[in-house]
Symmetry: D2
Subunit: 436 residues, 4 copies
């Protein structure tokens, strides 16, 4: 976790105190159910909840000090609670194993993290939608291979981004569901010393589903899927970030990240206004993607469990969720405040002497009875002249002077092929598909 | 693709001829719809389908030769079809762009691949279930950290695997749905020269859904999610493979890969019987996982598209699906024919002098009024002696001789704590959860 | 391996016949040394070499058929050789284990592959150097963040690429050395049944060094380092490929991939000339990088060895080297034939109204006694006007009209700050460092 | 960075104060050289060094506050220094760009980090060597595929590890050299406003070499190579960690991580002693490996530079080096204090009824004139009986009863094949190769 790429709400999930609070709730809920079942005295559960009702401070340092001796975090925690609550606390953790607490806690943390990320996605989607509608019909050049292709609208670009992040949301909902399971099944998952109804009770209290078969641990394919899903979202963040970076290039300059008063683009070059937010997002996307690799390697634990996953998760649990939260919020800000330059978009659209309309002419020629191959040749030979003139020549003018072309198409027919609006007749259809 | 790790049905999907057949069908369906719309003459579509009805051979070499000159695969293919069909073929591809064909074809190929993989998963699940039921109550030691923990059954191990691959199936169904979209939207996805109804028609004919907003290409977040899902499945394959490798270790030997007559384990050591299939699967899992990385990097194409994804997909499209198909089938064979040694499982279970029952004694002591910490100390001091004797001493015997223990628990009570059946009382519950 | 991204010389290394030929040579050299040591009869070695001198064809199908029964590739091969050579062949493989043959063979294959790659790098370096010298003083704009910064020369861009690939070469030489080791140490590497001098002899014959301590296998950290090195080279390929892609963008168009007569850029848009080679290279770089992951996971084999590395290497051995060979050759072609447009470079350089000279003015102002902060403010307020005019205003003109500026610097002094040659005075120094 | 996996010396390198101290030194050295060259007044440099001689505290919070407004870290820092030093500070940073400071600082940090890691490797090598010599002739079973193969010594296992980490050291020395370069070349690396001699001077002061051609940034192929090298070291850490985990398995138990008094292996099972340190190392290795991926993606910056690498390096710079430092130290502790059980090694070696000697019998039979295939069959048929008896039968006894065997080999000859010392006759040779 890099503090500058972290926001408080997400960071709080991963702080020791939050973790210990969830540990306590799991232990106390379990003890409650054990009391209901008559396995432990009701006084055991009551003592825990009574203490909890005093809203006690969690003394992280004291717990750490115990762990330094015991070399076992959960035992250290239980010891500390026992110190605070008194002898009734001995009924805690009956028939449970540390992993029951640790894995269920991770499930709660990742679920909460997913909830924040889902809200982030909602904010991002709202921002994209607002700007998409604003620029629904703002003409701009569509580019394939970085080369001018045919006209699109800036709203269409954003509609694509909306659809993509909407898919990301669907995926994250599924990934959240995968991860939100509770395991209270004892040493190797047999429920030998704890009734399955305890698991069901704790799961219900925490808003989780039960893990059908755990083996001391919740199986790590669930986590692999979760982090892989975050990686895919990072890929989509990178895509939109790269789009902005391209649009802000000096020669393109169709849009720019907001540049605040007082901001300096370069210590050496006072004229610079750089797309640093989206470059920054590009790097963050690389990190979030990379965290999927160790998560995938975590799946093949040995036998019922080993603990190699744990050190990995101490990194990627916080790092992936905190960074993705930050990145989504940053991207939302970029979209929200993006400076959009429609005049420049139009200027760029026009700069190639009408080449962007070449396909329509090609189609018209074939429909006029010329073979596709010949039609392609006719258009290409004029297009190449325009290309080499760097847009100073006009494709329409050249075509009007090409006798093989004019034998097939009248001037009026040719002119009609250079109409921009022609390209936008289905924008509405696409917007309907995307925004419903 | 490594031929020895490839099966014919999956491989066939990726052969040039299959690809060209799908290309043709997309083009012909599109032409049909264009004819229905009156954009091209009905004779154009008819000519195509009439030729197709003759079940023509696809001359891959001829198409390749054209591509060598034209440096464009789709144009080369269209030229070849035009050579075969005659002038009516000129109405093909009207208003379409190559990517309409290429991306929709990839969607068809990946969908078909997913169908095979789903069938593979069904086979694997069936094999696991059969063996799980066979060994529902076969006692074996559960291990955490590679160290004996408490008893489980071999059926429970397999139930876990079943649940895990069942989740994989659910994920793959979702990934298949993601990938199964059709885009026929023209040069930069605006439908400028082709009506959206063509896309809808082709999609329906091919069993795909429409891509809500394409930008010449189908967005690559879909593919990233697909290959990430395959990577997760590979992780689960590795987990079960590693389990078998562990069980087959000389010192453990609770199960073995089937060893066929005539097979040689080692050129140098005639006594060897090695878990080579599951080691092989471990390596394949590494490969399948690695293919998710370039798929994730493919998401951020430039503007409406660049073609950097294409070379990646030429590798990972076949390599990931063919290898996963092979791996799933190999794993199914391993499970199906696995030699299971219940006597050895029992012997291993017994070899630690009853240490595996330590927790029950601990719990009984605490329930008899001893503090958890003291109870832990009492059990541990006896357990360590057994441990150091390498199982030659018996925990039960030692406990019976420990006066602090016997002050709390009678011999009869102690003996009851060493009952194996105690651990299996919820096996049925777990099986119900998993197999329903 | 994707056939279209493969060249014959590299591919040949990985063909079964090549592998079997190396196998034979290892076995025959080892048998020769064993004969010299008196362990086996001289007739055993002689029989092998006599047969080899007949230049026998390797019957891959026959060996495969044997493997299908024996399920062991080396034993199958030895059987086949025995069939061909006769009973004297029984002295082959004495005291050796399959891995002695397999791992030493892989060392030979990877060394040969590295030799080809080193030659590829030489070709690339030569091409880059030629173009760098050609454009040593061709002015072009340097860009940071995609935004115009200050002038550089196109030669400098290429000098950077030269220095980078020169480092790649140094790394590959080191990686080749790492991989070029021979192990003939028997079952678990103890030389129990084979004298270390056999290893030394075979190593010398094959141009390898000896593996100081093998454990049946050559340790996989060597291979991990090798494939990681290829991954770094792929990163450098991507960097230069991305540079070309950027330069070819419609709005930039300072350079272009060579576009051959007869080539079609788009099936739909006859005006397109796309940087498809460098996009293709970008995708290939993703693949080559990804192969480092499973190579890294291969290091931690179990105990003296397991065989999980083998399936991985069947993929990445050929795939990484064949693809990198192809990519280097393709990149060499791109550089060699790159169409460079100096006029366009100059036009782009001029398009920002002289903003690229802002730093020199800033420095001059501070040297004239103005605080850095004030100087920055003075330059920035003029620069922003030029920026917003999209280069229609001239920074020099505005500065001449800014009284705070002219209070510090005369018109003559200001004009001197806009001299392009000023930026190139150390080009020679840099070229000396790089090409020296 | 996870605090529990961090050690102070390495962590200190990455703290803001350390970074700012290096920044200052770079700026002050550069100013000194500029003063020597007469570009700035000597008083400028003197003012900086005089202030520095007062050993001033770095006010990180004040600098952060400035950055929050200026959104540029280097400018914020320069402003703060100017506040502290006074107007003479305006001569700092003349002709430099932020990246000159940032990239050279990263070079210093990574070099220092590499120095710590090299010292870590020395400690690890010393520990491995000590234990290797201690157990040079401790017999243990060598295992391939997890299956007993032939005898080795525990010292040989450690000799292999020594050789592997010795290679890692060589690689890290090379990687350190790659990364230790200084760039003070101005806005786009042309030295337009700063003489190359400044770079040379600063490089010398900081113990770096000069970057032959920088483009505002030091090229990221260097960093990719550095982090890839750390990833390879992580792979070797995982290998040794996995070896220990295997050796500690209940059924194997040939060695154990040191288990301190007061330590609890499991909250639920008092008998557990788990290899948690090496499992922990396994997870850390996954993380360190994963950091190579974004480092590789960082290479292809746009044009002369973009800043996408920066957010990546804020993560992986500290995370990879801190975690690797911790992991190497932890592994050193594991090796140093490893509990080794030679009796158990001998017991395991004996448990297969002499199967581990099967190869010697095979060789003896072939040398006695039996074809390899027949000899294999003879040994295998007896070996399989021993195998199936789980070591209760003795291979030697069975062979003595096999008439086809005894027709070729006398009892005395057979017995000689079961001599353990035979396997260790070259241990000395191998130790000489490794430890020299």
């Amino acid at each position: 976790m890099v503090p500058r790429y972290a926001r408080p709400a997400m960071t709080a999930i991963w702080e020791p105190e939050s973790r210990y609070r969830i540990w306590f709730e799991i232990e106390a809920h379990a003890t409650q159910k054990l009391a209901d079942l008559g396995v432990v005295p009701e006084s055991g559960a009551k003592a825990l909840w009574d203490w909890w009702a005093t809203n006690p401070e969690i003394d992280v340092a004291a717990i750490d000090a115990k762990e330094a001796v015991l070399k076992h975090d959960v035992i250290a925690f239980l010891d500390w609670v026992a110190d605070e609550v008194g002898p009734e606390a001995r009924f805690m953790h009956q028939g449970m194993t540390s992993s029951d607490v640790l894995d269920t806690t991770l499930a709660v943390q990742l679920s909460r993290a997913a909830d924040i990320l889902l809200a982030d996605l909602d904010d991002l989607l709202a921002a994209i939608r607002r700007r998409a509608e604003e620029h629904k019909y703002t003409p701009t050049i569509g580019r394939s291979h970085g080369i001018h292709a045919e006209p699109v609208t800036f709203g269409l670009k954003l509609a694509q981004a909306y659809a993509e992040f909407d898919r990301c949301k669907t995926r994250l909902v599924a990934a959240r569901e995968e991860i939100a399971t509770c395991a209270i099944s004892g040493a190797v998952g047999t429920f030998a010393n704890i009734d399955p109804s305890v698991e069901a009770y704790v799961a219900e209290q925490l808003g989780l589903s039960i893990e059908p078969v755990s083996t001391q641990v919740i199986p790590r394919d669930r986590h692999a899927m979760f982090f892989a899903t975050l990686a895919v979202i990072a890929g989509s963040i990178e895509r939109l970030a790269v789009e902005v970076r391209h649009l802000q290039r000096t020669e393109v300059l169709e849009a720019e990240e907001y540049f605040s008063p007082g901001q300096k683009g370069s210590s050496a070059m006072p004229h610079k206004r750089n797309p640093i937010l989206t470059e920054n997002l590009t790097g963050q996307a690389r990190m979030i993607r990379s965290y999927a690799i160790p998560a995938l390697e975590n799946v093949a634990l040995w036998h019922e469990r080993d603990i190699s996953h744990s050190s990995v998760e101490r990194f990627i649990g916080p790092d992936a969720t905190i960074t993705l939260d930050f990145a989504l919020a940053r991207l939302t800000g970029v979209v929200d405040k993006l400076l959009v330059y429609p005049e420049r978009m139009q200027a760029n659209l026009d700069r190639m002497g009408g080449l962007v309309h070449s396909q329509r002419v090609l189609l018209a020629l074939t429909q006029a009875g010329i073979t596709r191959d010949n039609a392609y040749r006719l258009v290409q030979r004029n297009a190449m002249k325009v290309w080499e003139s760097d847009g100073r020549l006009s494709l329409l003018d050249l075509l009007k002077q090409d006798e093989e072309v004019t034998a097939a198409l009248s001037n009026e027919e040719l002119e009609e092929k250079f109409d921009l609006a022609y390209h936008f007749k289905h924008v509405d259809t696409i917007f309907d598909r995307v925004f419903g």
